[in-house]
């Protein structure tokens, strides 16, 4: 049945978004021409822009449609379902799939396609939503409409591009805005989309079994509950610590005091990866419309109450909730309850047990439009076992 296949036998799909001119085409051209030992099938929306003849480039139509399942925000990409079904027949010809969206596209339907269509879900998995941000024109893009904001809010991984075109101060301000919109995503700086290609793939951002922590850069830095003995083997293609291209993420559990001792290029330099270790220097700037709400408790939660609350919340506000992630300490349960949501689509399961001596912190992060922080906190707190 669809979910039984382990993600290793499924083909990873990276969704690449970014406002007009953010550098998506440059990045795609690099992915298709560089010798990185991997073969990608690329689904693009503008055929002409990619100046390379490759039989694994496919044009898409961005056909968004509603599912007749009573879920009003349950929109999927019909063209993507067709193209992915076709590509799956040629499995073995490529290692991974990249889906480029137009600069004005809402990433929601693309992401939802991977959860709603059983066949797609059985054969592929959504690896990450990577959003390119043009440092120079980000301010303008934010003013143009909500697309640029939502692309950032939806991302797991943000590439802050064209950093050479703005001052270090401007760059820090943009990064603060990005963090304000989305505390969950890792931010990586680049000049001309020049991030190591391997860091884009195999991130497993939607894989519940790989979710160890819900990172929240927005949170206070004084409690750093990273697991120090956690091994680094989770991300196959993430180079080891200290090697070029290593992406710092929740899996590299080193103390933030070591921040200056490893080979992460300094702030503002190409390849520097902004992560929890440098978040201390940049405080998020919050947006009026899209924001994130982070909830946590050191006491266990009532699993039944929490599930009911989350179901109701997503049913009522799922249209405005872009992404949600959480790891919970359920009363009387040795395993951690992990969940994630894309609009109304919720996935949750019990994952590996809490380790001995590990601090059992329950936390959940919601990113969305017009979120009512007080109401969310009250709802969450009501699930905490007193």
């Amino acid at each position: 049945m669809p979910d039984s296949a382990p993600s290793s036998t499924k083909t990873p799909v990276t969704v690449l978004t970014g406002y007009l001119g953010a550098g998506k085409t440059t990045l795609l051209n690099r992915i298709l021409t560089e010798n990185h030992g991997q073969k990608y099938a690329v689904i693009v929306n503008e055929f002409g822009e990619i100046g390379i003849d490759n039989d694994l480039i496919v044009g898409a139509d961005e056909e968004v449609f509603e599912m007749n399942n009573g879920c009003v925000c349950c929109t999927v990409r019909g063209d993507l379902i067709r193209i992915l079904s076709g590509l799956m027949k040629r499995k073995g010809k490529f290692d991974a799939i990249i889906v480029e969206t137009t600069g004005l596209a809402d990433p929601g339907p693309v992401a939802q396609t991977f959860f709603v269509d059983e066949e797609i879900k059985a054969k592929t998995y959504l690896d990450s939503v990577t959003t390119l941000v043009d440092a120079r024109h980000f301010e303008q893009a934010l003013k143009d409409g909500r697309e640029a904001k939502e692309q950032v809010a939806f991302a797991d991984h943000i590439i802050l591009n064209k950093t050479d075109l703005v001052s270090p101060e401007q760059l820090d301000e943009i990064e603060a805005r990005l963090k304000g919109l989305n505390p969950l995503a890792t931010i990586q700086r680049a000049h001309r989309s020049d991030v190591p290609i391997k860091t884009l793939l195999n991130q497993h951002r939607f894989d519940l079994s790989k979710m160890e922590q819900v990172d929240n850069h927005d949170h206070h830095h004084d409690h750093h509950h990273h697991d120090h003995d956690h091994d680094h083997g989770h991300y196959h293609d993430n180079p080891a610590h200290g090697e070029p291209g290593h992406v710092h993420d929740e899996h590299c559990g080193h103390d933030h005091h070591h921040h200056h001792h490893h080979d992460n290029p300094a702030h503002g330099e190409v390849g520097h990866v902004h992560d929890e270790h440098c978040s201390h220097t940049i405080n998020p700037i919050h947006d009026e419309e899209i924001k994130s709400v982070s909830l946590s408790s050191e006491k266990p939660v009532d699993g039944v109450k929490f599930t009911q609350w989350l179901d109701k919340l997503l049913a009522e506000q799922g249209q405005d909730i872009l992404r949600a992630k959480g790891i919970l300490n359920v009363a009387g349960e040795p395993k951690r309850l992990v969940f994630q949501a894309v609009h109304m689509i919720l996935e949750g399961e019990l994952q590996q047990p809490w380790r001995d001596g590990e601090k059992r912190l329950s936390r959940a992060v919601f990113i969305g439009r017009h979120l009512d922080q007080a109401a969310l906190k009250a709802g969450f707190d009501a699930c905490v076992v007193q």
Partner: protein, 329 residues
């Protein structure tokens, strides 16, 4: 009652068909067309993949649509002949009229109708992508499954507005009852939808646990078999109202397995089904006798056809194995 042929081609089997002379022809995802009886193969779409296939309207050879934007006719004697090419397009749906010399194929929102004799071409542009095509028995009308229903075009007229059979949602495949009275589509949701053509009356045919990928009218058009459940689902079209008010039957349901493809005998209530666990069975619906054609498990069956004489089956799986089964009759 034996597997007379089995061979690995190491490429997903897109289509396995019999032509008018009951010659089996197989189309592979790596662009090859195979004639198992002759042990012949052709590179019909070099360095590309086949997405859809249909027997040529003359009954000889196979027409394939590829991700290279080409439409190719391959016969055992002449090999591949290109019928059309559209750079950058994916030809993922194709249909042939059983009368006349007309084919239709879809590339995203455009449906091309090609008269193979006069070479005349028409293009019918839709608002949304078309993912299923079917001609009526006379080849006069073309039914295009798309978002929110089916568009009906006169295949021989250039300028026209299509008639719309509306039903909200995405329709991914279409079949016409051989008498031409009913149109049935498979939907993105786990359901079929049908229209009685004389009055466009809707028929909702749901209750499936999975998406329906395979539809086949058989037994003189009196029965419709579909995939999408643990057994093959068979709908009766015995009366003027078709399946309205009738119940479907599920044939030979297997726990833990799903039927992925079905094919019935043109004249008789004889049905074959391929499963996602690699098994294949054949059922005589009147005697309720069921035989396992292939009982050992393997890659999901992706293509299956029963010969016109109903004495052979050709089928293939996602791992690239092709089999031919020969019945005792």
């Amino acid at each position: 009652m034996t597997i007379a042929y089995s061979k690995s081609f190491d490429s997903y089997v897109v289509s396995a068909l019999f032509d008018a002379l009951d010659e089996p022809i197989v189309a592979l995802a790596d662009g090859r067309v195979i004639f198992p009886d002759l042990d012949a193969e052709f590179e019909s779409h070099p360095n590309a993949g086949i997405l859809a296939a249909v027997i040529h309207p003359t009954g000889l050879g196979i027409i394939t649509g590829g991700d290279d934007g080409r439409v190719v006719w391959t016969t055992k004697d002449s090999g591949p002949i290109e019928l059309a090419a559209h750079k950058g397009a994916w030809i993922d749906s194709i249909a042939a009229a059983s009368e006349g010399q007309t084919i239709a194929y879809a590339a995203a929102k455009k449906v091309h109708v090609l008269d193979l004799l006069s070479k005349a071409q028409r293009v019918f542009t839709h608002d949304h992508s078309v993912s299923g095509l079917a001609f009526d028995p006379k080849g006069r009308k073309l039914y295009c499954a798309t978002y929110n229903g089916v568009n009906v075009w006169f295949s021989r007229i250039a300028e026209q507005k299509p008639q719309k059979l509306y039903w909200a949602g995405s329709h991914t495949a279409v079949a016409i009852q051989p008498a031409g009275d009913f149109i049935i589509t498979a939907m993105q949701e786990n359901a079929l939808h049908g229209w009685r053509l004389k009055d466009s009356k809707d028929m909702r045919m749901g209750g499936y646990p999975a998406k329906i990928k395979s539809l086949d009218f058989f037994a003189k058009g009196k029965l419709l078999a579909t995939s999408g459940a643990n057994g093959a689902v068979v709908w009766p079209f015995l009366r003027a109202n078709g399946p309205m008010g009738e119940e479907a039957s599920e044939i030979n349901p297997q726990e833990g397995a799903m039927v992925t493809v079905v094919s019935g005998a043109a004249e008789d209530p004889l049905l074959a089904a391929g499963l996602d666990d690699g098994r294949v069975w054949i059922a005589e619906l009147q005697s309720t006798g069921i035989d396992w054609v292939k009982a050992e498990k393997g890659g999901a069956i992706t293509a299956l056809s029963m010969s016109n004489e109903a004495n052979r089956l050709v089928f293939g799986d996602e791992d690239g194995f092709v089999y031919i089964y020969e019945g005792s009759e």
